[in-house]
């Protein structure tokens, strides 16, 4: 955590503190847990990169390796637009792809609870297989453990992905520069509100479908457009707001968003309004945030919009010089406010 943030955060209480739901919510509490515990004890140069995956050395002389891992504890296991199986494939592929790499292999670890219906497990595995096949990334190894009834919650899946990045194509959250444009590939909050609507049995007139998708195809056409890319990130847990704050911190820059430019589906906006959520903080599983030089933004936007996963893409703001690394927004009313890290817990077990 960079110096200017330290003052805002109290140290972890390792003597009396306990794990709270907020520690898994993707916001500031989780950032602190990772920083003060995992990074502190496991410190190495790769971990210090601070991205969604690690950029490793080349083993073959043909580009560097990228490795990423992701745990999935979503509840319910099946939701409109996907399930824990496809989600666990998409999530990890995306974490590899936003590093600039071509995803090559996947591995999966299953923690199953005694008593879980085998039919449901079959549906999950079939869905994983289909997602991996569609993405063209094989699942090459795995592990299975079973815990006693009551010690798990059906199925937890951890997936790990490996990819290779062509020389010069490496991306990192540390590369945002003042003057860059910020682009978003589509509407915010679809995944989170699909889960929420399912969980609360909210029958909205137009059902909300999760956007769960593998993004490496979209990223490939963005590459091919010739636009120079500085940062790619998929804004999952904690939403766009948290992802932008992570990048601002990593790059030591500020950002200014235009609220009126940020796409949100009317049904998602209505559900958020109804339940008191802010779409900026709701999880996405098939959206891409891209930061590129302003001059290249029109080219990149056109390439994104030409791809099925980027039809609603928009330029939503710009990167600014700011020693405080504040993410700000010009509101739809014309006022200016901060877009802070997610605080506390918005939706547990969203992915």
């Amino acid at each position: 955590m960079s110096d200017h943030r330290q003052g805002y955060i109290r140290p972890l209480d390792l003597k009396n503190g306990r794990v709270e739901m907020a520690h898994g919510a993707g916001g500031r509490a989780m950032a602190q847990l990772i920083e003060a515990l995992f990074i502190k004890h496991l410190a190495n140069d790769y971990l210090a990169q601070g991205d969604d995956g690690a950029l490793l050395e080349s083993l073959t002389g043909q580009g560097r390796l990228v490795m990423a891992t992701d745990c999935h504890v979503v509840s319910p296991l099946f939701f409109p637009g996907g399930d824990i199986g496809s989600l666990s494939v998409h999530g990890t592929i995306n974490d590899v792809a936003v590093m600039g790499a071509k995803p090559l292999y996947l591995a999966a670890g299953f923690i199953l609870e005694e008593g879980f219906p085998l039919g449901d497990l079959a549906r999950i595995v079939e869905s994983m297989a289909q997602a991996a096949k569609n993405a063209g990334v094989p699942m090459v190894t795995g592990d299975t453990k079973v815990v006693e009834r009551g010690k798990g919650d059906g199925v937890f899946i951890t997936t790990t992905g490996v990819g290779i990045v062509a020389p010069g194509d490496e991306l990192s959250g540390r590369n945002a520069q003042a003057g860059d444009a910020i682009l978003l590939s589509g509407t915010l909050g679809d995944h989170g509100m699909a889960i929420m609507a399912e969980r609360e049995s909210l029958g909205f007139e137009s059902p909300i479908i999760s956007d769960s998708a593998a993004l490496h195809g979209l990223i490939a056409v963005m590459r091919d457009s010739g636009a120079r890319l500085h940062v790619l990130r998929d804004p999952t847990r904690g939403g766009l707001a948290t992802t932008l704050n992570e990048i601002a911190r990593q790059s030591g820059v500020g950002m200014l968003l235009q609220e009126s430019a940020i796409p949100v589906k009317p049904a998602v906006a209505a559900a958020c309004e109804f339940l008191g959520f802010d779409p900026l903080y709701v999880a996405n599983e098939g959206k891409l945030l891209a930061i590129c030089p302003a001059a290249d933004a029109p080219l990149l936007l056109a390439a994104m919009r030409a791809h099925p996963l980027g039809t609603d893409a928009a330029i939503i703001g710009e990167v600014q010089a700011d020693p405080h690394a504040f993410v700000q927004m010009r509101t739809c009313l014309g006022g200016r406010r901060m877009v802070d890290w997610l605080s506390g817990e918005q939706l547990p077990r969203i992915c």
Partner: protein, 369 residues
């Protein structure tokens, strides 16, 4: 989105802003208190102060339900969860309110307390029906808006003959809090109030007439959308300029003079005035809160369990009290943003997004640097 996007229209906001600038007299200052946390949130969330002239100052009021909840009340709820081993359920914002011994309901949950968030009071009744072998307590907080649902839950529980359900009733009333602010020995300059939105749908506009008539303070009831707030501020400026003090209603789409008689009737049937109640920041106020009537005593958690109320002083350096009384701004508190953050709130105003400190930390602190 119909009925919402109209009230967040940037072009209308610009025109309103220009009108307010035109109509404000440059030789004087205007100090208005927005009573409700909902208004505080709208002002911060939409950056409304950027649209107001510099001589129009907004003072955040105490109308944030979890902000005025004293430590002792949260302690009672925690004791129910940890010592009496009930299923304790409440609204989400309550979970992070700091209590004694560094605890909050969230931390008590991590220690093994069965504490659950519910979206409505009737969810709590359902929880009791589904868990017949456990006792379920609904920790009921909030102003007049959330009171009728609690009354309905109590009536439902009685009708169903539930033996495993009770309510820790901490509902408070708006007018006594406004009186307390105006009667406080440490006077603050208030030229008028932006009056409550949702509270007024229940109680109507009549209860504020005393503030206009006897205290000479204009009150404009306003909805929680940003244009509602701007329009109300403009109406207050008109009243001040014209030397009037009246209760006016900007939120005519939802509020009338009498309020929701049916809701008032249900509340009166189940709940009655407490002699006194301790508020965070405002101290102990007479006739400012509600308790469960004797006829429903079996559903009163304070009567069923041994959880006598013990008042607990706030953290010495915490300025929540002075902030809730409108005497200080969040950034004037020494703890603000250093020791006290939304992750580790010391005071209650840093908890809910409607709290003055949380709103300023989350949306406004860029203006402090």
């Amino acid at each position: 989105m119909k009925y919402i996007s109209e009230f967040r229209d940037g072009d209308v906001a610009q025109r309103l802003s220009e009108a307010i600038h035109r109509e404000t007299r440059p030789e004087r200052a205007y100090h208005f208190m927005e009573f409700c946390g909902g208004h505080t949130h709208a002002i911060s969330r939409y950056g409304l102060t950027d649209l107001l002239p510099s001589n129009v100052k907004m003072i955040h009021g105490p109308g944030c339900p979890v902000c005025v909840l004293p430590i002792g009340r949260v302690d009672q709820a925690i004791r129910l969860a940890l010592e009496e081993e009930v299923i304790l359920c409440t609204y989400g914002d309550c979970l992070r309110v700091p209590a004694s011994n560094g605890l909050s309901l969230m931390k008590a949950k991590a220690q093994g307390g069965d504490i659950r968030m519910v979206y409505s009071s009737t969810d709590a009744v359902t929880l009791a029906q589904k868990n017949p072998d456990k006792h379920v307590v609904f920790f009921a907080i909030g102003f007049e808006t959330t009171t009728p649902p609690t009354a309905v839950a109590l009536k439902q529980a009685a009708m169903l003959g539930l033996k495993n359900f009770s309510v820790l009733c901490c509902h408070v009333l708006t007018p006594p809090a406004m009186t307390a602010i105006l009667d406080a020995p440490e006077k603050i300059a208030i030229d008028g109030f932006v009056g409550p939105a949702h509270v007024s749908t229940i109680i109507g506009s009549r209860p504020y007439e005393i503030f206009a008539d006897q205290y000479g303070k204009p009150v404009v009831i306003a909805g929680f959308e940003p244009l509602d707030v701007m329009q109300a501020i403009r109406m207050l400026i008109h009243q001040v300029n014209e030397g009037r003090s009246e209760v006016e209603n900007e939120f005519t789409r939802a509020v009338d003079r009498d309020g929701n008689r049916k809701a008032q009737g249900i509340v009166a049937e189940v709940l009655e005035l407490r002699d006194e109640f301790e508020w965070r920041g405002l101290g102990t106020l007479a006739h400012s809160a509600l308790k469960i009537r004797d006829e429903f005593a079996e559903f009163d958690a304070e009567k069923r369990f041994d959880i006598a109320y013990v008042a607990v002083a706030d953290h010495k350096a915490c300025e929540c009290g002075t902030i809730l009384r409108g005497l200080k701004q969040p950034q004037e508190c020494k703890l603000f943003g250093t020791v006290c953050t939304p992750e580790n709130p010391i005071g209650s105003c840093m908890v809910s997004s409607e709290g003055a400190c949380a709103a300023h930390f989350t949306y406004g602190r860029l203006k402090d640097v």
